[in-house]
Symmetry: C3
Subunit: 266 residues, 3 copies
Amino acid sequence: MNKKAWEGVFRMPEPGRSAKPRSNGLTMLLDKGLGPRATEDLMATAADYVDFLKFSFGTSAFYDEEVLREKVEIVTGAGVDIYPGGTFLEVTVCQGCYPDYLRRAKELGFTAIEVSDGTMEMTDESRGDCIKRALDAGFKVLTEVGKKSPDEKIAVAEMHRLIAYDLELGAIQVIIEAREAGKGVGVFDKSGAVNESEVDQIVAGVADLDKLMWEAPIKNQQQYLILRFGNNVNLGNVPTTDTLALEALRQGLRGDTLKRALERGM
Amino acid sequence: MNKKAWEGVFRMPEPGRSAKPRSNGLTMLLDKGLGPRATEDLMATAADYVDFLKFSFGTSAFYDEEVLREKVEIVTGAGVDIYPGGTFLEVTVCQGCYPDYLRRAKELGFTAIEVSDGTMEMTDESRGDCIKRALDAGFKVLTEVGKKSPDEKIAVAEMHRLIAYDLELGAIQVIIEAREAGKGVGVFDKSGAVNESEVDQIVAGVADLDKLMWEAPIKNQQQYLILRFGNNVNLGNVPTTDTLALEALRQGLRGDTLKRALERGM
Amino acid sequence: MNKKAWEGVFRMPEPGRSAKPRSNGLTMLLDKGLGPRATEDLMATAADYVDFLKFSFGTSAFYDEEVLREKVEIVTGAGVDIYPGGTFLEVTVCQGCYPDYLRRAKELGFTAIEVSDGTMEMTDESRGDCIKRALDAGFKVLTEVGKKSPDEKIAVAEMHRLIAYDLELGAIQVIIEAREAGKGVGVFDKSGAVNESEVDQIVAGVADLDKLMWEAPIKNQQQYLILRFGNNVNLGNVPTTDTLALEALRQGLRGDTLKRALERGM
């Protein structure tokens, strides 16, 4: 890390925040279409606090090749992993062009791949094949469990089985689906509030919580997860505009977590 | 269109998307004050998917002349039409300076004009005069029907009459008002949900649906209109940050429309 | 002010807007992490309409020193005051390093300081000491009254006492707390609606309303305050993306305030 602006002046109220390269306390941002200059801005202000940048849905398909390459280079050059969203992978799997997808992703400079089945059905065999091929091609692999539709719900036992399966195959993180909106999906209700008993059920069957990444686009969700699991909980689908606000929440520089630090006698 | 990043790797799940210059499938963005660099970013990432950029309300009045000219040039240079919002036109009509407004808009490089009466009352004669003068001055003319206030509602028969009137005079698109927020106005209820019967009533009296543009700032509204009218429905007041997300929705690269494509056997 | 794009073409529907340097009609923006290019964009489009830029929470702590310095220079070079948020000050007061904080803030180029006790408890003596030291160091001082937690509420009499106390000591503005979200805090209810009787009670005990700045992040709040107190009411915690939209609201170039101007016979 470069010298921070206030270095030496004060102590972070919530200490123990992991530094890069980190294996927990990961932050994955959801990129809805930042241009090259905005991407440079993001990296200049926040690269130390961002581990993964994910293109939302299939948005990477709409970029001119040269613009995408420029963007990917800005991100990877700042030490941040970058990948096309899981929805895009699902399309290529359905169309039988997953190997082409991996080859092209490599050419374009992507460093990670997300394997998900949020919209489609996928057999264990197909899922495992996706993970293995991506690993073989040199990508970091994140997988996702959970369905995008509020009408489909995956049983918690099945979720536990998939998490273990993916990690066994070499996924570095398993993501709990919450979409971009974080409402009415996964562990969040229609208003975005956390369903604590669903969180309880999920964590009850996971050996290593550092391998779970929670999609948590909304502040109250991030706050709940940080207060419950500590400031090094892995969080995903964070809006790019909230990167520093989330870091303030993690490190006790925002009212909600500062309050606890004060009560503890910071 | 330049070469896209994933060209040749996969097929769009929802085919048939119109290409520029297009006469349907138009997207109009609502610009709340992008600076020159952000405007360049937007054009670099999304110019192929944007047809009109509208300055929200009267915001163009607050720009320094040179900054506005720079912005207008970036946009028009990328093949996108640009215009000051309808509210601004209403002010100039009220103040009797509409001809000056058109002359100045031309000097500043604007390429389109929106004629609306969302806040004020306007006679047919005045409305027609606005349209004709703008056309004579070489602008593309979009008009708008509907009131901004939830207390004033325009009868559907009157709406049909105005739509026919405007198109007859040469408007290229008639916009259905929904404001920036998309809530409690036009065909959207207080929560932003679509009032389907109001949509039914409007379309029942319009001969060519390709001439209607729906202001639809919120995703569920865009999704409804795309699923109902196809991926080449005309949509307006789209937030600039959602440009690629909307395109993903149109072309089936987002869960909500991908699901339908999958069911169809993409 | 430089020459505006539409100068000479029309009159602002709501006249009398104060110009910089202004002592009322102040706008304070909440900056959640703009990078250098976005900061330049903001200053290029809106410097005439922005008086203060506040770093949200403790986010300034996460910047590399050189990036922060660049950002501060862009802002102050455009004639806008800039300061770290009040939460950050509370941390340094708690840790006993407030003098170091002021010294470093000066070195980094900040021009203002906010003294608040939104999260912690602060005695009058400590509050007064903070204000005086910041003034002595050459900063403009804004103070804040109100608590961040919905469970703690400050009595209106105490609020009046603090406002008088802070102004007496030399604060140029006293801010009424509403956080970033503007919901369930201060004069706003859970949905963000204005509690008018609470506004009544506050203003009843304040001699000079030009010394009050209302945190009002949401449009309906800004609109209420402008319609009630005039277009030169002081507003804070405005999202950077809404700067020009707010100015349109102040000057009658947006439906909501234009309507009133029309009724008056603009």
